[in-house]
Symmetry: C2
Subunit: 319 residues, 2 copies
């Protein structure tokens, strides 16, 4: 949540002359996005978000991300639309960084997801999965099943200092998931990071999905499992089955889950909880002294993991 790169008026005005958006009217650095610098830019033609990609985004992935946003917007998904430059390209350079201009979406993240939000998310997630079925580019999931073991090895020595007993549970979970993780479920493009921060609403209407910078190819139902983890637990850690039921049923109504996906849902939820527990643990143990960003606590995802391990079957999620 920081503006890492300062853009000046003359540099930005020159940058915008490569786009057909009229003259620059204003630009405000905004506290949005953890990895990149974002400006809210107004020009004679409208309002945009300018993103400068900082070092944590691999430049090789940018065509995948920007093409995906364009693909989604072209198919009616509520997503920011990259604005093409006069030469037709989506990617540009500014202040020594890769940069892109995308359309601005109204709406705000909700801090307290209610069933109406979750139903809207389920519907829109299914529409996203359907709309991206014919997206041509591929990107493997760098934070999928195969990454979890090595990720934990990098934190193992200090893991029990964060939560007593964590090592034993994670080791057991890694074994179970390696053995049982489904391989034959429907695959496609997943968003992979649809936390409440990345979904905008105007009232109860979902107005936008943002931040496609973890999107990749993986099991579609795993994306739903990520959302169950991110949207259906209360601050005290309790599972909100009403939210889950609203989300899963709305998803299923728009893209029916097959029998294997339904059966796998508890396991996919365990995997999703483990993934966020491990990445947060990794960052938690490596906070730079002068951090601009507060790392996220891994413990709520450890608690979710333990919840999912007690689940009997898909009915527990409202299916």
């Amino acid at each position: 949540m920081a503006v890492y790169t300062a853009v000046d008026d003359e540099g930005l005005a020159a940058f915008l002359r490569d786009y057909d958006v009229g003259a620059l009217l204003s630009a405000k650095g905004i506290a949005e996005g953890v990895e990149n610098t974002n400006y809210l830019v107004r020009t004679e033609a409208g309002t945009y978000i300018l993103t400068l990609y900082e070092q944590r985004v691999d430049p090789m992935d940018l065509p995948f991300f920007l093409g995906l946003m364009r693909h989604c917007a072209d198919r009616g998904i509520a997503a920011p639309q990259p604005v093409a430059r006069r030469d037709g390209t989506l990617l540009a350079r500014l202040c020594g960084r890769n940069a892109a201009l995308v359309t601005f979406l109204d709406g705000m993240a909700t801090r307290r997801p209610r069933p109406a939000h979750c139903a809207a998310l389920g519907r829109n997630l299914a529409a996203f999965h359907s709309a991206t079925a014919d997206y041509a580019r591929r990107r493997p999931n760098a934070l999928g099943l195969a990454a979890w073991g090595p990720l934990f090895e990098a934190s193992r020595a200090h893991a029990d200092g964060v939560v007593a007993g964590l090592t034993e549970v994670v080791d057991d979970e890694l074994c179970v998931l390696a053995r049982l993780w489904p391989t034959a479920l429907p695959e496609g493009i997943i968003h992979a990071d649809l936390f409440p921060d990345n979904v905008f609403f105007v009232g109860d209407r979902l107005s936008g999905l943002i931040d496609f910078y973890f999107a990749c190819n993986d099991l579609l139902a795993y994306d739903l499992a990520i959302c169950i983890n991110a949207w259906c637990f209360e601050p005290d850690g309790s599972f909100n089955v009403t939210n889950a039921r609203a989300m899963v049923r709305a998803y299923d109504a728009a893209r029916p889950l097959d029998d294997d996906e339904r059966e796998a849902l508890p396991l996919l939820c365990r995997g999703a909880a483990l993934r966020f527990c491990l990445t947060r643990l990794h960052d938690w143990l490596r906070v730079p002294a002068a951090a601009l960003v507060t790392p996220k606590d891994p413990r709520p995802y450890y608690d979710r993991l333990r919840f999912h391990r007690t689940v009997d079957g898909p009915a527990d999620y409202g299916l």
Copy 2:
């Protein structure tokens, strides 16, 4: 340049129901202003800046500041206009802080002021001084002549560690200014902080003066002296007399300076340079370890002070 207070969607939507601005569409925390938290807010009725006043702003001063902005906007000064709530008041509460909603102004700060910018600033500063002549509230300048001695005492012990010889020059300057500081010049409301950060342009057109939170009653020509210091020196410290001439002449054309003001200008410029040198020195020596804001270097204002001490008369500023 930080968002100190996080505002959530439900709290903000409820807050806005006290205003006649329609429903909330979006809100982005913006990296603008050093003292307060600012959000760029879009509603059905338009675009606004929401300011949450953090601890460095005295709540007792808020009626003065908000009334001044309202007074200016009513008289055609390009300034943010506070939006009244349904009950007619300008000040509200949000997240345990005083808060106000003001209209959004297009435009961007310029990082390289050119003569056209300086002339526009001079014209608009004179218009501001004229428009506020009938503003009813008063606020003494807490950072005026009387404050400079005590301010330096608080930094004296470490001052020469920042710039060798600073103590001797400042002590001498404090004596000279105490003896010669004019008392009979035209007084009124001064902005007192019209740095390039606080002046917006669309192209060369001045579109807004912002950040009225240092405004107070003092000598009008002292405000011009602050602007000369802030706008008419190059990054290498050299004085840009073309900028100064453009600014001072444009000001003088709109609000003619009397003979005493002209004669006093070099001394007022020395005072303005000293004021910013001392406040920056004070903050420079007291950077909190976890500072969100980088303190400003006092040395460029020490260099300006030494320049103004060599000036022969108002002709050196283009008068």
